[in-house]
Structures are given as structure tokens and as C-alpha cells.
Assembly symmetry: C2
């Protein structure tokens, strides 16, 4: 990173991937200039929210000109660390692990998948997109030897903490966790959880709130 | 809902599924009383945040006693609409759709999966957990006939909007969308998006921030 963004709130940071996705769509359509008002119409944040958010990263917007889409996209990519590349492995090669392995934006943004790991003898030795499925017993050694930076946990919740411990001992920097528990790791390891049920429960809340308000 | 929670902020609501998950774990361990301090240690929110959040829903906590785990769990379940049941279908029976169909907390909390839908002739006619995979051409009719309330989109992004339009015409109340686009629906349909790449990008941000701060 070139600048110190340490004082930018995590709430703003969490909105950046969405800006990133819309700016990418604009670039794909060869649109190179956009006003905060147009961005607002597309993304659904208010124009004033957008100006506030993007001001945190220096003044890309110019009065009467709008934002330079490419500059803004590149800067947000850099803030998110997407100008780098990362080595990753997936633990759990069931449906979810395979879905992640096939996820389109995974490779595109520099997340290089080196291997998948599983306990199931039927899966071990198979390949997904030319990537081997290994025995999970070989995980620690593999991660150390190949300097794997990110472990992606797609196992049942019962074994997720054990896998996280193995990844930690093998010196990963980050864990992307899909198991429905909060895994514990030392402070030098970063964890990002995807708790699918949380999102489903919010949908359920919103459906009921609507019903309630319509009464 | 018994009470009017319309003035509770969405930020608080979005933390409720996490409280719900931890309270369920406590009940499973037959722990019926907990202080905000202990909850704080487990969940990772500050005790004062917890007190503030839970005060929004009436005073379950009593000075010197702590929270009644079961009461709090039941109330949060109700707020989230988890005391009801919902009929659902999954569109896209590939790896992700199958992973969601097998997701453990799906059935447990009243989300009843009636069927999966796909375009792939190899999948149509197969079953996942005794649930049929149908031809996507039959989607609208099936949804209308069976009063399906929630459509879960696990298709590639290119067809996601078309599926959302079909679901809307067939009168679903909610859409749980895993395709990496923001689908557009009329105001009477509620959408909850799971954008996996957004979570991956946040992990990438956090890894870089750490690197930056360690310098």
C-alpha cells in the first residue's frame, strides 16, 4: 500500500468490494467517467454516501467531471490487495469445496489454488479443473513446502478447528472459513468467516418485517 | 412479531444471527444463564455492545443475574422469524446448489426445500437427499402451484436475472441470491445476496493491512 488507510473505518472498507465490482462492470462496458449520482443509481448507496466513502481515499472525483473509473478501480484494487497474488488450498473437497474451486472470480483476482484436501478415499487422487485432491494427512507438510498463504475451510464444523490449528502450525497468513463455527486462531492469522445461515436468517427477518409492516 | 422492532437499526439486526448461534450452543451445553461479560468473551463483541444490542429487545438481562439464555434465544428466534417455516426451491443444482441443499442448518430452522431446478439433462431426474431435480422450464408453474416462498439462486450470473424475473412472476416473497450480480426485483420481493468474492476481497484487504502495519 502506498498510503496509510489505517484511519478508514472498517464499515467503509466493507463497501469497497461492491464499488470494485461495479467499476469493473463499467470498465468492461468501456465507460471511463461516472458521476456520484450515476454510481448511486447503479449501486443503491446515496450519492452523498458515495462521495464520503471515496473521499477517504483521496479526491478522485472532480466537480463537474465525476470519477475517473479506471483510476478509482485501480486504487480500490490496490487498497483491497488485489494487485498481488496469493497461494491457496481448499480443505474439504465436497460440494462446497468444489463450488469454491470453480468460482469464477477466484483465479481472476490472483487467488491461485494449488490443491484441495479431503479425508474421503473416493475423492483423493481426483482432480478439479486439473487441480489435485490430496489426502488431508499431507496438509501441513504441503502448506509449509509450498508457502501456502490462505487456507479455505469447507469441512463440516466438527473438524474445522482442527484444520485451522494445522493451517496455523503450517504458517498460513489467512483463513477463509465456511464452516458454521467461529474458529480460534492466534493474532498473526487473519480469519474471514462466511456464515451462510446468518445471511439466510437476515432474509427470514426481512420477510417477517415486511409482513409485519404490511399489516 | 409481538412487538414493534421497526426502530431497531439494521446493524443490530445483522448481529442477531451470531447471538442466536452462540445462545444455541449454550442451550446445547445446558447452560441457562450467562452474563454479558461471559457472552462478550465468547462472541468477541464488547460487553457494553452486547448490553446495548440486547436492550433494544427489552430487558432480558438482570443486574447480578445475567441473561436467561432460553428466553433470549426464543426472543431472537422470533425476531428473526425462525419460529415459522418457509417453502423453498434451489435453482442451479451444480456444486453450490447441492452444497446449499445439504447445508445442515437449512432444514433445522424451518426452511423446507421442495425441489431443485437445473438446465442440465444429466442432473434432471436425479435426487439430492430424496429431493427431486426438475427441469428449469417447469420452475414458474411449480412455484405457483406449491406456494414456494423463497427461491435460492445458485446459477451462473448470466442467467440469474432471468431466473429472478421468473421467481417474481411466480410470486415468491424472497430470493437468496448466490450469483455474483445484484439482481433487480420489484419492491414486494426481498433479496438477500451472498457475494462470496466480497468476503474474499476483505480477507485480502486484512492480510495487506496487517503486512502494512507490521512494517
Amino acid at each position: 500500500m502506498n498510503r496509510d488507510y489505517a484511519d478508514v473505518s472498517m464499515a467503509v472498507i466493507r463497501r469497497l468490494p461492491k464499488y470494485h465490482r461495479y467499476l469493473k462492470d463499467l470498465l468492461d462496458k468501456e465507460i471511463y467517467r461516472i458521476s456520484s449520482r450515476e454510481l448511486s443509481r447503479m449501486i443503491g448507496f446515496t450519492a452523498s454516501q458515495i462521495r464520503q466513502d471515496l473521499n477517504c481515499f483521496g479526491g478522485f472525483g472532480q466537480q463537474g467531471y465525476g470519477y475517473n473509473v479506471e483510476e478509482l478501480y485501480n486504487e480500490i484494487s490496490k487498497i483491497l490487495g488485489l494487485h498481488k497474488s496469493y497461494t491457496t488450498v481448499i480443505i474439504g473437497a465436497g460440494n462446497l469445496g468444489q463450488a469454491i474451486a470453480n468460482y469464477p472470480s477466484f483465479m481472476k483476482y490472483g487467488f491461485k489454488l494449488l490443491g484441495l484436501f479431503d479425508v474421503n478415499p473416493k475423492l483423493i487422487g481426483m482432480k478439479i479443473r486439473d487441480i489435485d485432491i490430496f489426502d488431508v494427512d499431507a496438509l501441513e507438510e504441503y502448506v509449509i513446502k509450498n508457502n501456502v498463504e490462505i487456507g479455505i475451510i469447507c469441512t463440516p464444523k466438527e473438524v474445522a478447528q482442527d484444520i485451522a490449528d494445522k493451517l496455523t502450525r503450517a504458517n498460513v497468513s489467512g483463513i477463509w472459513n465456511f464452516a458454521p463455527i467461529d474458529i480460534k486462531v492466534p493474532g498473526n492469522v487473519t480469519v474471514e468467516n462466511v456464515h451462510l445461515s446468518e445471511s439466510l436468517f437476515i432474509l427470514s427477518y426481512l420477510l417477517n418485517e415486511k409482513e409485519y409492516l404490511n399489516k
